[in-house]
Symmetry: C3
Subunit: 350 residues, 3 copies
């Protein structure tokens, strides 16, 4: 029997400081833009129209930050999370050079934390994944941690290292790839009159609309990102597992929630940071995703009067409209209908 | 609670002469061409092959007229028909500058008619929507009318204004963006030997083939056009409505019927006008669409001997082959299996 | 009633030596690349990243050989297999000039064999289909044979001509559109350390992963290829046929099996030949496809020390993992779970 097949790494295969250069660099095409629009219906003007992006002082129209995130994330799956039990969280995600059509992304991950679970059969792996373009410029840099199976429960536990997780990305680390100084920003074409100064900390916005997910939709998306996690694609195997169904890639929910958030946050043109995130409950085909957001912080950007940032919490639910902002129960746990809790930062004109 | 969410306009929000510049300009990419082909399987040579288009004297390969139509239509939905009860009809649709990869479309609509319904709870709004490219050239210009809910039944009825609806677009208003003079038109590669002179007024063509629609297909298409009408996407909400299911965007049926019409009208390379149209009955996932066409008029184009036009009626049905041309019953009403009645004009070499 | 509709050819419409120039040339776009990735999740680096392809000495990043194959195949369907009962086999498939974004493919087929079946109602048609780009360079050249209905059982049988089917494409006929001489080939980015010399004849590889197919997936793919065979698309008609369901285009299974084969054959960057192939059993939406491969031959390429070829048999199954390499029963017939038996040749660095 051949041993040429890649089995993915198990918990005992990881060590602190280990650096993994992931396979399959990926060139972004105009097709990715169209598929991303078709999959989520995103309407942010800066990533929809070259003319609008150029009028904002972008060099060229960038692709959606989240498409960049998914491509970088996808590369890391075969090495990091093929044998994962759960994707536990994200932290410290910064977006650097915007990705354009024709750019090629490559991802490298470094193991920065390890903790075996008390059951001795699984452990948590913390990695810092960095996606770069063909010029070596950072495109996305983030930390995620996943629970991974051990192959052999008898293998010894590594020394526990829990990294200092970065908090919210600081104002001075937010990169702004456009400049509105001396330019007219067209709020009508952008879809909303509300700019940076119009949002209040603590303000909550129900994004109203809902989007139902089909199996084809999430599989098309997840394959596009060359994410190979088995649980998303193989109904034959999932039928035999406890859960019985294909699980939807958590990033698909992030993109849907972001697209829904246009209704209320249309000028939040670009995501500059993903501060923290959790997939509170799993989603399946047939679920209808709704979302609401809370303004966590209104951030002034050093030296910039043309643009500011909003730190937001966007919460997505399944089969539950968000007019009363469902979140956590009295026990402090996520309500069962809550599927995403994302703390991130968007750039928005002043 | 935030008021930053766009609720869409209600009947009493519209006034005669009101001009609405719609949000989210949209740049056409090569990805749109591929998705359009993948969604409908269209085979018209002029929009499938750059070589063929150039051999016809097009400057560059244009994208399908209907893709242009859907993009322009999609922009208008959040402002015009988010609270629509029904999309009642189209008239006077002219196609201008062909849309190419790299072009950016923006849409503006003007309210040209208003009529409150006798129930006092809804009214009909007539708008003239015009899509332009980044050079300000008209891409599509058409009238549609929709039935829209009132937010407050007590608000007073506006003065009734019913616009003179344009009839079929006149020969002199049809724009021909190619020139076959002195060129060989390759009927073999085009897929049919039948040219302008081979069609007779009154001739009816059964397009034979059928195409079944899945939920993923119509939602992918409708999101691609950034059309946000809730009824297409939200199964959770639709389940609670009388109809119980997601409604398919009528334009999806137009594109399917046009793609099916290749079998019988392969040389009708480009749609130059949509004279009138009605969505006779709703369609749902699982329906199989068939189509037939009737030649309404054979039009000579002023000063052109290389190309003519055919005014066609294409009728689409669900789950009903079209060998006996199903249309209207003895009562003059559409048969229940008829889903589209489209009066439009195609350009076809002589 | 109109006779403008193309009915497709029946068995008695074919004659030896007949040459058919198929309709609808097709320009390849960046959208095709993205959709191909989204449909199959293919991860071969040479067709995923422009930088990687250029580092291998490709002039430009080629599109996947199988996308070229499907486009060429699709063109031939309306003339060859619209009335086909079954697609019986492939032979002698050679890939020539790689297809790039912007290239336009046209297909011509020549009838090279005919044999009426003893039932007098069907016959087998052998065609040699050749796809060329806009410069007339051969892109794909292959033989396929299909069982086609007769329109009139009373029409006389043609003289039986069974062509000499080409065997496996010879080493000297394999075209290598890249040159690794003097270049570093990055096995890490490619996803596997195993190169030409690491594979043994007779070695078998279980590709482990499984992919479930939805109706939307195979229809989106098959329409993208402008393949019009009715059995793939029309549930209304299929419901009335014995099989009751839409059949999946066999080429969709080839592409899925090839994408799955990345896990074990990641350096087999390009398919250079399809030597023979059979669709052993039909597939339907809901099936989960698995695959395994056997190395049939390790081929040295004349004058090349940078690259070799592997002749492979890849077998795909439905709803059956491949750890014990399911293939044929004791009776020599394919097991019912086997859906594809493909004999092909890939190029792989030494």
């Amino acid at each position: 029997m051949s041993t040429k097949t890649v089995p993915g790494n198990y918990f005992e295969d990881f060590s602190i400081g280990q650096e993994i250069r992931h396979a399959t660099p990926r060139t972004v095409t105009e097709g990715d833009i169209a598929l991303y629009t078709g999959l989520y219906g995103s309407r942010f003007a800066a990533t929809s129209a070259a003319t609008f992006a150029e009028a904002m002082g972008f060099e060229r129209m960038p692709v959606d930050s989240l498409l960049a995130f998914h491509l970088v994330f996808g590369k890391s799956v075969p090495d990091i999370s093929l044998n994962a039990v759960a994707n536990l969280g994200y932290a410290g995600g910064r977006f650097g050079a915007p990705l354009h059509v024709g750019d090629t992304v490559t991802t490298t991950s470094t193991v920065i934390g390890l903790k075996e679970n008390s059951n001795g059969r699984t452990g948590v792996v913390y990695v810092n994944s960095v996606g770069v373009n063909q010029r070596g410029e950072m495109v996305v840099d983030y930390v995620r941690w996943v629970m991974v199976n051990k192959q052999d429960a008898a293998s010894p536990a590594p020394e526990t290292v829990i990294p200092d997780l970065p908090g919210a990305v600081a104002a001075e680390d937010l990169l702004v790839p456009f400049d509105l100084t001396g330019r007219d920003y067209d709020v009508e074409l952008a879809g909303s009159p509300f700019l940076w100064g119009d949002y209040e900390v603590g303000e909550r916005i129900d994004h109203v609309d809902g989007m139902t997910i089909e199996e084809s939709d999430h599989m098309l998306a997840t394959r596009l990102y060359q994410n190979t996690a088995k649980v998303h694609f193989n109904q034959h195997a999932q039928s035999q597992a406890k859960i019985g169904r294909r699980l939807i890639y958590g990033g698909h929910i992030i993109s849907l929630a972001r697209a829904l958030s246009f209704n209320g946050l249309a000028n939040g043109q670009l995501i500059a940071a993903i501060n923290a995130g959790a997939h509170a409950n799993p989603t399946f085909a047939g679920d209808t995703i709704y979302a609401w957001s809370e303004v966590l912080e209104r951030i002034e950007l050093p030296g910039r009067t043309d643009v500011g940032a909003l730190r937001l919490r966007t919460v997505a639910t399944k089969d539950t409209p968000c007019s009363d902002f469902p979140y956590k129960g009295e026990d402090g746990k996520y309500l069962p209908e809550v599927v995403l809790d994302l703390d991130y930062t968007v750039l928005i004109p002043r």
